[in-house]
């Protein structure tokens, strides 16, 4: 099997690390070789962050390069646009519709691009956009945006729901488990 590539992109502090850990545990328990590459330190402070998840028979590089990603899971839609060159031509973007202004927009030096969802769709890739913040609030916490996205991502994998839930149990503290399961199902129910 050819190595599959999932990029998780967002803004530092949004919880992309937990999402990548969950995916890593999921593919490990399915018997694959797995590599997950994280970002720590200064880049985490509200900057653009990217995490790579790769799985297959034998995975060498821990990073995903331009044109290699099968999926981009995006916590903020500008970040989906930023990392678009990393997506394969027939790749899929699963994105939160939420917008967070970066500092050049806040200071007025640049504008936040308009209508990104359609622009991404017009570029020829499949775009699956959902209002994760709203769904996460419904589940009980704004912090569950990451799990809502994974719920939606689960559509594209031929894995039983139980496998996802088992992986979740390995990375989410017990007291937040119910809320996160709800968030996962809310994300999954969006089609």
């Amino acid at each position: 099997m050819k190595t599959k590539n999932i990029m998780i992109v967002g803004v530092g502090g949004q919880g992309s690390l937990l999402a990548s850990k969950l995916l890593g545990r999921l593919f490990l328990s399915e018997g694959f070789d797995v590599k997950v590459s994280e970002v720590h330190g200064m880049s985490q402070r509200g900057g653009s962050v990217v995490t790579y998840v790769r799985y297959g028979e034998k995975v060498y590089s821990p990073v995903i390069d331009k044109g290699e990603a099968d999926f981009i899971v995006s916590f903020e839609i500008l970040e989906a646009a930023r990392w678009l060159p990393y997506l394969k031509k027939d790749g899929v973007i699963v994105t939160n519709t939420q917008t967070i202004d970066p500092m050049p927009v806040i200071t007025g030096a640049m504008n936040y691009p308009s209508d990104l969802e359609n622009k991404l769709k017009n570029s020829g890739v499949k775009v699956d956009a959902l209002e994760c913040l709203q769904l996460a609030r419904e589940a009980g916490s704004e912090k569950a945006v990451n799990i809502v996205l994974l719920g939606r991502l689960s559509h594209y994998f031929d894995l039983p729901e139980e496998a996802w839930m088992n992986a979740m149990e390995q990375v989410v503290p017990a007291r937040f488990l119910e809320m996160n399961k709800k968030a996962f199902l809310l994300g999954k129910a969006q089609a």
């Binding site: 530092g12 502090g13 850990k21 890593g24 545990r25 490990l28 018997g31 070789d33 797995v34 590599k35 997950v36 590459s37 994280e38 970002v39 720590h40 330190g41 200064m42 880049s43 985490q44 402070r45 509200g46 900057g47 653009s48 995975v59 060498y60 590089s61 821990p62 990073v63 390069d65 331009k66 044109g67 290699e68 990603a69 500008l78 970040e79 646009a81 930023r82 678009l84 060159p85 990393y86 394969k88 031509k89 790749g91 967070i100 202004d101 970066p102 500092m103 050049p104 927009v105 806040i106 200071t107 007025g108 030096a109 640049m110 504008n111 936040y112 691009p113 622009k119 991404l120 570029s123």
Partner: protein, 605 residues
């Protein structure tokens, strides 16, 4: 599958596991990205004593003391940290060890979170100590254990070199049992007292040890040949090995170097003899390449590959393709394309509610020349605060402000300050402060005390009162320390209180005497910090003057309203209600659910 011991571990956590399995009893480190998690993960094993030392030099010396006492010991740091610890390391090379001693160092090619991109392999060569370089988590675990065996067998400290991609990538490892070898301490003045007479006798030992290590390297399993196509032979190490295999698989032959110092010359010559063209693929400096060139062997390396930044699979594919150094029939992978639209960059910023923000705003407002230091607050150099004008290394702010003010005969002292965090001050600010106190410049030093080591992800330090496990520990009193050094003027302000900050800063800049201002408020991300509810903007009151935008808070932006006018809007998911913005608003447009004015300040200045 089916193996209970098979786990997905971060490279740094795999080193920690290796330390556990190798029977390490003592770890002293200073946090620094990308090395921090080694010590944090090791601290989760009750069997290992772990501590954060004030700096890397102290950590290295503590680890040496522990190995002298007979327990396997480890000291971890980032690449620039090893500069601080280089002094003990270079002489520990002479003394050798008692129980095994391994020094972890993590390089940061690409400078994800560093001030330079230096290559730590130079330290291994200069200190004449062996260096192992793992390429994934499984190797990180295995090499850590091997490092202790080599340390004891060859009587030397061993460097274990990580890089960002190995340190911060998770891959699969298999875990084993812990075995604890212990040695007796015996007095040996000739070995451990490095005064000239003894050191002169130890230096020949060091040279002989290197010869023995080269011999070991020739057949060491960590240096391995993977024969494939013979048109191209690649010598590589660390994460570059993974990119090479990703691109070429078995189409090329590979000599993977796991021990980058000293290098196995015979093994290299044997490899060269089997391939038509030789390429060295290594990040940063041409260490292996220069060595092979010095052996008189023609080789490609930095003539086609960059000396800067980290590598990736596409970079290696393109550079070797362009140079014609690829197997027959090799095609470049397809690249993706982006939108034509300009995508605004998203650089890191100070968090919403960051206590540093108010202080930097005050410094900018007063037109100060700000000499900075290493930490989250280095972001005070970024627009719109654009306040910090110099950042060099840990502690340099205080050393430099003294020199700056002395050089201008004190003319600059009424507007020049040093800013340094609490952890950085403990690391190497104290000696700089001693210089200000001793040689008397009218310098103003501002200690940004956010009660934690912030940038590296919240490590305790000697001013916080807690140790690495979160248990109560000694607590150094910053005010008392500064006074004991001879500073008569030590002031404390709350950086959320802009008026108090402005008043104290003006007073201390005006006075003709050395002074310290402690800007004190815990990091807004600390779990115990209670936040106020987010603020709201009354759009009827807001006049769109952008005064609140001058602090560069990521939670505030200007958005067009129904009438088309631009008004300030607070992001309710980001705002922590610190109230600094509301102190800048000329019309009182910000409101908080708890107070009318919205300000949550609790000035204690």
């Amino acid at each position: 599958m089916g193996n209970e011991n098979r786990r997905l571990l971060l490279g740094n956590a795999a080193v920690a596991r290796g330390l556990y399995e190798a029977g390490v009893c003592f770890i002293s480190s200073y946090p620094g990205t990308p090395s921090t998690e080694i010590t944090e993960e090791a601290a989760k094993f009750d069997e290992i004593y772990c501590e954060w030392a004030p700096n890397e030099k102290v950590a290295m010396e503590a680890a040496f003391g522990a190995c002298l006492a007979g327990k396997r010991a480890f000291c971890g740091q980032k690449h620039v940290g090893l500069n601080v610890a280089a002094d003990p390391l270079y002489t520990m090379s002479y003394t050798g060890v008692n129980a095994g001693l391994v020094v972890g160092v993590a390089d940061d090619a690409g400078m994800h979170s560093s001030q330079n991109e230096q290559d730590s392999r130079h330290h291994a060569i200069a200190a004449k100590v062996p260096m192992l370089e793992p390429a994934d988590s499984a190797e990180a675990l295995a090499f850590t254990k091997l490092a202790f065996e080599l340390s004891e067998k060859f009587d030397t400290p061993v460097l274990l070199k990580m890089c960002t991609r190995v340190a911060h990538s998770q891959s699969i490892v298999e875990e084993q049992e812990r075995i604890v070898p212990v040695k007796e301490y015996t007095k040996d003045i000739a070995k451990y007292v490095m005064m000239p007479g003894n050191a002169k006798k130890r230096h020949p030992f060091v040279e002989e040890r290197t010869r023995a290590l080269v011999e070991y390297a020739e057949t060491a399993p960590v240096n391995r040949v993977e024969m494939g196509g013979t048109k191209i032979g690649i010598v590589t190490c660390s994460t570059s090995y993974q990119y090479v295999k990703e691109v070429f698989g078995d189409q090329v032959s590979v000599l993977k170097i796991g021990m980058t110092n000293p290098l196995p010359e015979k093994l290299i010559r044997d490899f060269v003899a089997q391939v038509e063209q030789l390429v060295v693929i290594e990040e940063l400096d041409p260490i292996i390449e220069d060595h092979i060139k010095a052996m008189g062997i023609p080789v490609h390396g930095k003539d086609i590959l960059p000396m800067i930044d980290e590598f990736s699979q596409n970079l290696i594919a393109e550079k070797l393709f362009d140079a014609g150094l690829v197997p027959d029939g090799f095609e470049l992978p397809e690249q993706g394309t982006g939108l034509e639209e300009a995508i605004p960059p998203r650089p890191p910023v100070m968090c919403a509610g960051c206590p540093h923000r108010g202080l930097f705003y005050t410094l900018k407002k007063n037109g100060c020349t700000v000499l900075g230091d290493i930490g989250c607050y280095t972001l005070g150099a970024v627009a719109p605060l654009s306040s910090i004008e110099m950042t060099l290394c840990m502690g340099a702010s205080i050393g430099a402000v003294h020199g700056f003010n002395k050089a201008t005969n004190g003319e600059s002292s009424s507007k020049t300050v040093a800013v340094i965090g609490d952890s950085t001050f403990m690391h190497s600010g104290m000696t700089g402060l001693a210089n200000v106190a001793y040689n008397q410049s009218d310098s103003t030093v501002i200690i940004l005390d956010n009660s934690i080591t912030g940038m590296t992800g919240h490590q305790q330090n000697p001013t916080t009162g807690y140790n690495i496990k979160g248990d109560p520990a000694g607590k150094i009193d910053l005010e008392a320390l500064c006074r004991a050094m001879g500073f008569e003027r030590v002031r404390v302000v709350d950086p959320y209180d802009l008026a108090a900050c402005d008043k104290v800063l003006k007073e201390e800049l005006a006075v003709k005497a050395p002074s310290v201002i402690i800007s004190r408020r815990p990091c807004a991300l600390l779990k115990y910090v209670k936040h106020n509810p987010p603020l709201k903007v009354d759009t009827a009151k807001c006049i769109g003057c952008k005064s609140c935008m001058r602090i560069g808070c990521p939670a505030i932006s200007m958005k067009p309203q129904a009438d088309g006018k631009m008004k300030a809007v607070v992001d309710q998911t980001l705002c922590v209600g610190c109230g600094v913005c509301s102190q800048l608003c000329p019309v009182g447009a910000f409101s908080s659910p708890i107070t009318d004015g919205g300000s949550s300040k609790k000035g204690d200045a």
